[in-house]
Symmetry: C3
Subunit: 481 residues, 3 copies
């Protein structure tokens, strides 16, 4: 019964092969190389070392490591769901990138009827992929691989449309992706989990815990993300001093939130001990909170303060808000994405708006109009000519004032939250269709439904079946001793 | 008896110290810096940032990570042979690189009686090292460290000679090393394992299985390789758009084979579950299949298709071919290198030949004669002068036609397979000499013969000796519960 | 009682929040961007791709990975102290870098009353952090997080002063940090552990051992450090061929010490087996021994020989010297830092002095006076004008002879050892104050005092309390079987 309904034997291949046929058809019809990857554009003026690949690839590879290894380890924290955490992350990320190349390509990288592909598209696709993985954190352990693939199928286009609307029409500053990555991912994920609510899981679940090794594995994931986060936040920032600052701010913010997380973890624990879940998650808060203003001249101390504030909000969220969301609002947020991406994302956006309102040409010099590109004078404005003497090739802007830009930021926040929550809820309803092999409550957080497990694998349920031990006992291995 | 015969106390130091004396003598007599690493060549024209180290080192460090960490974790999948997998990989790789610097140096990097050393040699040596590690996969768990060192000692020169013959005389296109790395490594390894055949292992072995943690460790290895594979495939490609394409194709190919591997794994499993060994190995097939044409203008969709095809071949190989090879042909291929490197290598070579036959100046522009260097006009041909107007510094080629180049590719494939299989068989015979501390059948896939194991280490054999439990029970820890 | 005395509930937050207030105040008052990170300095001459961030960031990120992931895994080798090893490394490193930015900034990067921040400062701060982590290795498992934070608080300034004195007044060559990083860290750590001597631990401790998984985790740490060590040794070396050589030498040195470590490990073991602790530590010796001469024209074979010699010294130190230090001199060196950093550091310094004494313009060409900057002619010397024709922008030096430079190196060695040992001893006395939550002897090498441990965590002490098993049994899990 339960076993049969989770079999992937027919469903997964059918989904994948149909998807692959469609992808092959679309790649074949629409995807070609961009100028930097196409041999035809090489001339006697071309210096091979000036190819864009050398500017983008180092950042790409760091982010690539974060997505596949960092997220993979981070999501493997459940004792009996280590395979699931790591392997479904692998599957999700792979499919999300393939799909994002097409969907983002259509909106952002197409001209002459073709999608033009370079490493820069891969970086953008990895960001789309990060969005999906964050959302997935909300329903980790309670979904089948098929449900996740369907979620990817829907979330990527909703994300790409939102991204396109926000970047093309609202034209905001959001270098670190606080709005488009973290807020979008958070509210989409909360939408999905709201619909997939499982009342029985609020009582606690025998398998919803960690082991000594899974905790260490998860911490390695945290460290991988922590180490490469400066590349994540700065990959799409303007080259030069802007990218330099983005790296510095991310480092400082993470570092501040890490120190704070240790203090709060001990303080809020009744035995004065450290809790691994805090070290694994809350330490990362600073990377999000510096996001929206990461390339601006906010000063190092502001990055530090943002790290501390983000950490406090995130920690209090885990401690007090998450249980309320689960019990009162039917929002079971498995990995606490609302704390690590939602609350911190909102703080980050607020800080970004403050940075925009207080930014002045005095502090930034003429490059002010490069960072705040939409505040540059419109084409034809004599001021633009003047500025181009100092910054050759400066693009014409929209002549926005600080206040106007701030309003657009606010508009972007609300429209992103609205679109993502709506998209998440609709996706959730689709995922509840019976065909997608959702595991029963008993088999949540358990690798057995979807994996051939090795002989030493040993979940409480399995023990119950073979040994008549009680399910409540979550430490079966210790039993015999 | 068994214990004594595997003691490394005298044999390993004797081998290593003799090797080190020889290496020191040869380094001392023949190894010096190349122009980019030698202080003497610095002039007032030298821009330090144009040093070759900045072009090569980022790719080197990625490959370096793959070899030492990626392969190390990947080979640690046995439950009782985790130390062996990771530690012998470390030993093998270290010795192989030292040795390859000398042997490849003699054939490829020597002039004025000296081997000239730079980071570029290290990249080449790491490739030689990858060859040895792939071959080693065929006999993993069934060889002593001494046997592996002897194998390195012989395989590196056979490889270097083959490489030299193929590159110098046959002059082929093989950017990703499909022929020289994957096919060579595969058939050398199969040659060795053919001679080291152990009939009793065909019946299954009590220790030939994984544990929950070793499976996760191995998957981390897969992910490390997966993430950095674009650097592996593109490290020696021409700089500029060629390298850019190599990165894109490798990424797309891997991504396609990963998605396909999930579908096939569920489809071919009778319970409709995923098998970790598939996720750990078959996902990587696409990285190999795009290899031979990785820098060519094959179009993104072709890279995708190659990934899918390679994955299918690799998966069917694991499922149906490997058991036949073991039972009928005495070829016990422990890690299935024939599936992941042999079959995929052949597909890659075929694709490479198709790409060569269909390549045209129309698609590539004048840089056609850079990628297909041997098709460039010979020195003196007026066409060469013309081309040099567009591509300054274009080297004279051999004026080969597409068909001629394709024939040379075919010749390279067969001569590589022939030389490597022969070399592997001869090496196998040497490894059977009694002095090299080969473990008995009982102690295969077991860390105990070669390591001081920690108190919680617990293999079936050990239990048998101390507890009279039966060897057949492969899950001793669960017993008491 | 014991439990209470290690509670971090009040102490840790108090320390951290006070530290953070001070750091925020100091950052606010004194820390600003350096020219490469400040938007104001961008002019129409600025090529964004020439920003220093692109020269420094690749090296920074490698070192960053070593510090947070590499060291973290390496220190997680204890069976019951895996959380402690990895988590306290995270805490220590984070705080050390924040603090070092300020302290080193004051001494090295301040002008106009401000500390100027760029990625280059972060690299320097990571080195200061490496110093602290090495010292910490001496007292691993026997200190509370609070004691470690206090140690950071004191060690960073002592280090920064020593660094400033040595670089500013003694003006030495020490590219790989043999003197300032390895010797300083070693003797500071030994000073601390000398004062924190615990006689009872000399008898052996029930929890002072590894597990199969912790050994593998630790080996991953070794491999992470091994792989990125070339970046560590070359990060602050002159760009161009100097940095190229530093990479080559480090690679060769590590490779030589690794091969040697395998031979010695088998040779010195009475069963002729390999010992994981040797593979985990001694393999790294070569990275230290090449340090002081890493950028010089010592020839590849010298790097190889240094690797071998360093490995032998390090191995003999572990085998014979460490037990003597612990029993006779009250120096309990938990990770053997005296072997891996002290002995090898001294060898490295000696080799550096030899390289200085034998260096000649003949071998180096005119760039001789760049590498040995203090040997360049003084301002006004006609030789300087001449040299500037060949090397534009050569800085005036001190006109030192080889002998004089060598004497300054010796002076630097002794003053560094003296200052660090003294600093360590004083720090040790402070750490013994009762308030810092030091764990009792019983709870050394145990995660329980400082962490909420998961259900499967199971230390001997815990078992003793609940089951009356004896503490001597260090393999409790096997008991029931």
């Amino acid at each position: 019964m339960t076993k049969q309904s989770t079999s992937l034997r027919v469903r997964l291949p059918v989904f994948v092969f149909i998807a692959e046929v469609i992808i092959v058809a679309l790649y074949s019809a629409f995807v070609t190389y961009d100028e930097e990857a196409d041999a035809k554009f090489q001339t006697n003026q071309t210096n091979p070392m000036h190819n864009a690949v050398y500017r983008d690839y180092p950042f790409f590879i760091d982010i690539h490591f974060m997505i596949f290894v960092g997220f993979g380890c981070l999501l493997a924290f459940f004792r009996f769901y280590g395979f699931g955490g790591m392997v479904f992350n692998f599957l999700t990320a792979t499919f999300a990138i393939q799909w994002a190349i097409l969907v983002q390509g259509y909106f952002q990288f197409s001209h002459d009827g073709k999608i033009h592909l370079g490493v820069i598209n891969l970086i953008n696709a990895e960001f789309a992929c990060a969005v999906v993985l964050i959302s997935y954190g909300a329903v980790l352990g309670r979904t089948s691989p098929l449900q996740i693939l369907v979620m990817v199928l829907l979330e990527v286009p909703v994300f790409a449309v939102t991204e396109w609307v926000v970047l093309k029409y609202l034209k905001i500053n959001d270098a670190g992706g606080s709005i488009l990555i973290h807020l979008f991912a958070c509210y989409f994920g909360l939408g999905v989990t709201f619909v997939l609510y499982r009342p029985s899981l609020n009582e606690g679940h025998a398998k919803e815990n960690t082991s000594y090794h899974s905790d260490i594995l998860c911490l390695m994931g945290t460290l991988f993300l922590w180490v490469f986060w400066p590349s994540f936040n700065s990959a799409l920032v303007l080259k030069g001093d802007d990218q330099h600052r983005a790296i510095l701010h991310t480092f400082i913010g993470l570092s501040a939130s890490t120190l704070t997380a240790f203090a709060l973890s001990a303080m809020l624990n009744k035995n004065g001990k450290l809790t691994m879940a805090d070290i694994q998650n809350v330490t990362l808060a600073g990377g999000v909170t510096v996001g929206a203003s990461v390339d601006m001249m906010i000063s190092p101390v502001a990055a530090y303060a943002l790290g501390v504030i983000g950490c406090i909000a995130c920690m209090l969220g885990y401690k007090y808000l998450s249980p309320i969301l689960a019990r009162r609002l039917r929002i079971q947020d498995q990995c606490g994405i609302h704390n690590l991406h939602g609350l911190t994302g909102l703080i980050s956006c607020t800080a970004g708006i403050c940075a925009i309102l207080t930014a002045s040409e005095e502090v930034y010099g003429p490059s002010f109009y490069e960072i705040f590109a939409h505040r540059a004078p419109v084409e034809g404005d004599p001021k633009l000519q003047e500025l181009r003497m100092v910054i050759p090739g400066l693009k014409a802007g929209l002549g926005r004032t600080a206040q106007k830009q701030a309003l657009f930021q606010v508009a972007a926040i609300f429209s992103t939250i609205g679109l993502s929550a709506l998209g998440g809820i609709l996706t959730g309803f689709l995922l509840r269709l019976p065909y997608f092999a959702s595991p029963s409550d008993d088999f949540c957080f358990d690798d057995e439904p979807f994996f051939e497990v090795p002989p030493d694998y040993d979940s409480p349920v399995r023990l119950k079946h073979s040994n008549t031990n009680s399910v409540e006992d979550s430490t079966p291995k210790m039993n015999g001793v």
